[in-house]
Amino acid sequence: MKKKAAIIACAALAVICLVSGGVYLARTAGVKAPGEIKVKGIFIEGQSGGDAETLNWILAADATSFSYVGHTLDSLATYDNDFNIQLRCLAKDIEVSPDGLVYTLTIRDDLRWSNGSPVTAEDYVYTLKNLMFSDWLNYPYKGDWQEEVNGEKVFVTPEVVNETTFTITRKTVYPEFVYTLYDLTPYPKYIAQKYEGDAEAFMRAPEFNNLSYTGNLGPYRFKEWNRNDRFVVERNPDYYLGKDVGAPYFEQYIIKLFGTSATRQAALEAGDITYTSIEPEQVIKFKGLRHIKVYTVPTSGYTILAYNQRANGWEGLKHKEVRQALSMAINKYGITQNILLGFAEPAFSFIPKVSPWYTEEGIVKYGVDALYDKQKAAEILYQLGYGVRQADGSIKVTDKDGKLLQLVLVVNVGSKPAEDMAFFIRKELLSLGIETEIKLVPWPTLLRGYVMNAVPGSKQEPAYNNGPEAVSQERWDFILMGFGTDPLAPSGSHVFFTTDGGLNFMGFSNPKVDELFARAKSKEALDKTVRQQVYAQLSRLLSEEQPVNFLAFHRANRGFQKNVMGIEPGVNMGYNYHLWYFE
Amino acid sequence: MQSYSRNNIILRVNDLKTYFFTRRGVVKAVDGVSFELRQGECLCLVGESGCGKSVTALSILRLFDSPPGRIVGGTVVYNSTDLASCPDQELRKVRGKEIALILQEAQSALNPVLTIGDQIIEQMKIHLPLSTDEARFKAINLLREMGIPSAEDVLNYYPHQLSGGMKQRVLVTMSLCCDPKILIADEPTTAVDVTIKAQVLDMFHQLKTKRQMSLIFITHDLAVVAEIGDRAVVMYGGRDVETAPVSEIISAPAHPYTAGLLECLPDLSREMSRLNSIPGMPPDPSKMPPGCTFHPRCPKMIDICRTQEPPLAEISKEHKVRCHLYA
């Protein structure tokens, strides 16, 4: 629990992407051609975030479970460091009908289950229709496959065309639905049928818990899973992408779990493991080690400070100018340099720099350079009536009635950088005269007590956005948390920023933003240039509106033993990991 | 009464000094004691509690706790070996084999978690060339001899299953099992009641007569001394104050302290309204008075007693006393 990262959106997605393979032939100088590479060695990845819950992925809630399964089971496609689509189980890219409603998917014809039978379109359609959409199995993320038609949620319609082709038909246009499709993995119909209708039996099915069905669908095959210790997969010689080049080149791939990040990093330093992520403080040390190579790569994760614009937050936060003034008072370079030690960049809007949809033009950069100005911030607040001029001429920010402003900042316990940022922000606000109480709470408490809301006095079940009148149980003014924007499908972020967005817990509402997100999901956005424009407008608008204070985009540090070859550093550097090898 | 010659002295204690070095100071528990034990006799060490008689007994075999105890002077000569200074290994060959010791507290002198048999036999196996079975056989015989019924069963018993008198007998058995020449018994009659006391004394008497053993019998009870002793050493404040044949001690005590002790004896022939006792308290061994240690309580104290230690005076060849009155 304590180590649960605070990054909400796309957490599962991002990890899947990291570990999936790709048809990529190394062209970098000095790298051997595929034929010369010998299969040898065991690749050990160190993790300290807790074990996976299940290999029966349809029941999994956590990203770790998906990442384990991903070693043995490819999705339909992934993308490289430049977000180019890399086909996996697909024979060719997904075709979208001109009206944007029908998606035609063609899978490879050389995919085999473990019993030798081919993987067919029927398996995919069965997985969707009979498992993911079913009532008996309660697939928790079925919402990804639903659309709203006449106020009702309905599932999309999958249909088999032939052995290798199937279609998915929507009733509403959603240009970025294709990225949901890329992540699809199948269950074998011939096994799953045995358990259909019996959730208990399905949960306990040995084939699914031992991944004994995955055939040639992944670079590795399941070998052993010792809970809280190690997940071991061994080289799959039949891997459909690797057969021809002899990949993958590791005998085994092991995920080794550690109790603390300190011991995990110590293990890399001692050479006991091959790869693990490095915390900012440790980077310089590891970069100085001869046997270690550290890659600093961008991520799509970012940290925000949400402003409560609901009835139980400080009334001032409802005003755009107040939010802007507060954002102006918080030094983003202070966060990226002093707390994250340079392994971050200031964020100003919701689309990360790594995304193909990123546009810098016109973005309002609060919190840096000219727009980091505490005096000006105080002046603005004073003008709005939130402050008193003191004897020495300086302004002390107060509530409208001149009283001391005491605000509540909530952050989840366990994330040290987030905690540091909370203290940093408190200090910045204190210099305006605003006192901030920091509440460090466990993750479920944060969600249940502060994020979830309901209309007082109603019988509503608490949800993340129960309408403009809803408020959370506990009073709060700021929540510091990790966010994420899918770099390929930023429209997914509508849940945060549209008036009725499912995760708009801060109660932000702006008709223009609603309209732009609607356009990004509309038929006209099928045209990528239109979508690019829409996103550029959205980025500008949100950077100015400050529904939340976008604080920083993070960079990750990944440390490898130096003898690992074939690595292409980047945002999704694991996409070709089946081609990595030991020197 | 037998007569003794110098030749059959089997143990000679000469000017023995055993001090305890504690944080509160030096406790001179035994501070210059001399006596000799003759073959086949029963020598009694008499005195009030705290006079150093038990420590003297323990010092013979160096069994006091060390640290803090240490022999700081004197010799204990047995078989031309000085037990006070010989190496531990040699001493261990004497302990139990040549000289046996029976401790005061019969109740706790036996190890509560070992069987009687084990405790008797382990000793024999160390000192005698016997197999376990032979040792066992001998132990059974000895126990029978000591008047213990169903001796075979008793070997498998634990101490808590025996009565007080039985434990006393077991202790005696244990001390006899290696046929020692000398037996030291520390207050064997104190913890038992009157009827058993007679039995115990009888037992020791038999040891002396039948086995020709030499006994050192430690007691505070002059009545017991009169019954069993041949000669007696009266101790006070860590010193031997009077040494004489028992008959002389009883009939003609020389030291005022001995006389005082005798007066404390309840005389059954007279009807007594109250028991006499020596006034005052025995001295604290860490703060001995100067001069004669008895002088604060002595009815016949003279000036010199306050300052000078009394020398040993010979009243007769067999009767010696440490008192200024006889100097």
Binding site: A262, E281, Q282, K285, Q337, N338, V441 | -
Partner: protein
């Protein structure tokens, strides 16, 4: 442990009335134990620091990210910030200053101030939780011994159940379920840690119950309450003092262990919390983990010394 104390208690003199003389007697006995005196001195020092220290040190919650990870006086380290544009590190050498004699943590908080306020928290946790445990344990122990019969039976069976319960697991379970606030941690430790006390107090009281002065008081018609409060409790107090002193280190360590696995109260800088923070940056800022670790060690050591000395002083059998 119970067995030994049970017998030890039997010889202990009753000491209501003349309490001062007895106290000074025990003090003399204890004063001979140099380690116990060191322990007592350290605890008094710590208490003074906890009470008065905050007036002399800066605010321990005051962050200063400009002065983060400063080493203690006399040490020099190298700090670095990564520059994305050049892919280089900008390194600076940082030496400890007297402004922060014990250095600063990753938030730039003054370690001395944190240690001082941590002393307050850890002592509070130790004393309060032990206090709760001792009070519950004493009440149950005395009631059990004095009332006897089925109440004794029921209470002791309940004690058995609680005693068999894996203590740390129960603690983690309770703190996880009800949330990691310091008040709750204290309460949880107190509510689970009383069993040993109850047992010892019961056996001690049982032996006292049949002693002459209690019998006499009863014969003179003293009420149950009077007997318990005037005669039983004062006579088990020495035992209670020893148990309390020896339980405090366990409580302090339990809180630190909870913090170590992430169940500490993050808003209150106890030593456990600082240590947990520090162990993430052992290789970059060792002092953040080492300083509270040493304080924890010394404090636990001091209580153990003192408790041991007290036990010897109260135990007539021991020859100090």
């Amino acid at each position: 442990m119970n067995e030994r104390k049970e017998t030890a208690g039997k010889d202990r003199a009753a000491f209501h009335g003349g309490g001062f003389r007895l106290a000074s007697y025990y003090w003399q006995r204890m004063a001979r134990n140099r380690l116990a005196i060191f322990g007592l001195a350290f605890i008094i020092f710590l208490a003074l620091v906890a009470i008065a220290g905050p007036f002399f040190t800066p605010d321990p919650t005051e962050v200063d990210f400009e002065a983060k990870n400063m080493p203690p006086v006399g040490f020099t380290i190298t700090q670095s910030v990564y520059d994305i544009k050049t892919d280089q590190f900008i390194t600076t050498r940082v030496s400890g200053t007297w402004k922060h004699p014990l250095g600063t943590d990753r938030k730039g908080r003054d370690m001395l101030a944190m240690i001082v306020s941590g002393a307050r928290v850890s002592l509070q946790v130790g004393l309060l939780a032990t206090g709760i445990a001792i009070i519950i344990g004493t009440i149950i122990g005395v009631m059990s011994a004095y009332l006897g019969g089925w109440i004794d039976n029921a209470l002791m069976r309940f004690t058995d159940v609680m005693m068999t319960f894996p203590f740390f697991l129960l603690l983690v379970l309770i703190v996880f379920i009800f949330g990691p606030s310091l008040a709750f941690i204290v309460l949880a430790i107190g509510l689970t840690g009383w069993t040993g006390t109850a047992r010892l107090v019961r056996s001690e009281s049982l032996s006292l119950r049949t002693r002459e002065f209690v019998m006499a008081a009863k014969a003179l018609g003293a009420s149950d309450g009077r007997v318990v409060f005037r005669h039983l409790i004062p006579n088990v107090i020495s035992l209670i003092i020893v148990i309390a002193t020896l339980s405090i280190p366990g409580v302090i360590l339990a809180e630190a262990a909870l913090s170590f696995i992430g169940l500490g109260d993050p808003t209150v800088p106890s030593w456990g919390i600082i240590l947990e923070e520090g162990q993430h940056s052992l290789t970059t800022a060792w002092w953040v983990a080492v300083e509270p670790g040493i304080m924890l060690l010394l404090t636990v050591l001091a209580f153990n010394f003192l408790g041991d000395g007290l036990r010897d002083a109260f135990d007539p059998k021991s020859n100090v």
